[in-house]
Symmetry: C2
Subunit: 155 residues, 2 copies
């Protein structure tokens, strides 16, 4: 595993960040792909949304039980999207805005500035859209998600 | 990065596999998590769908341009879900059936038997549901996706 590029955002610290792309709203971010991988972007611009798979590089270690931002109770780490995980892999679905050479602009920037990028995959509705999902402990309203901001608990 | 467990499926070779969980239909798979991580599963059973993040362990190397199973044209590797990627990370959204101790049964098994698992995350509709996505080059019908099967091109 080695970074294929870096994600630039306005989030310089882990504090006060949006907790998901949906909470990031129209905050934009920029992927600077290493030039050697640029050819792999061919035809990506036809997709409205992409998965970004990246490293939670500011998190250190992990716990089996975590208290996520959206709940006062603790849950198993695999039942949350918290960053302190056995393999610190982050996953965000963001809206693709533009691709120019090796630079990708996107909307929904919920990751820290300087995040190392591992992979980009197209969001494909026919593969990925889930109907009638149930979401366990998470009962938050859309409004609460939009307004939630991180603190330093996952540093 | 180290595996947290292993995924058991009926797909013993890369040939003739479903190409996505949607194509796998009700084919079930089983995750055997290493015992040391079992506590991280607390409350996961409340979610109907989970992301599995894993290694494409049978793929070797990568190309920048690939011809995916669902198209006769080649595309940049990051505009496809093909396994031969710079970082060989796979992503599947599967339906959770049961959790018993360190064993998780799921539906939608589209990965090879013995796949090393890196992470499990809950699918959270409020975070992950995308409305009005456009899917670039992929024009296949649901029927075509259900019927598509892999060949050995990504070994």
């Amino acid at each position: 595993m080695k970074p294929i590029g870096s994600i630039q955002t306005d989030h310089k610290t882990l504090d006060n960040m949006p907790i998901q792309p949906r909470g990031a709203g129209n905050a934009t971010g920029r992927i600077v792909l290493q030039r050697e991988y640029q050819d792999g972007l061919l035809d990506l611009e036809g997709f409205s949304h992409i998965y970004l798979i990246y490293l939670f590089h500011l998190s250190d270690g992990y716990s089996f039980r975590v208290r996520p931002f959206m709940d006062d109770n603790s849950h198993g780490v695999f039942a949350t999207r918290a960053p302190k995980r056995p393999n610190p892999i982050g996953l965000s679905i963001v809206r693709l805005l533009s691709i120019r050479d090796n630079v990708i602009e996107f909307e929904g920037a919920d990751m820290a500035n300087g995040t190392p990028l591992l992979d980009i995959k197209p969001y494909i509705e026919q593969f990925d859209k889930v109907n009638h999902a149930t979401s366990g402990w998470l009962k938050a309203s859309d409004r609460a998600i939009m307004q939630a901001r991180s603190d330093n608990r996952f540093k």
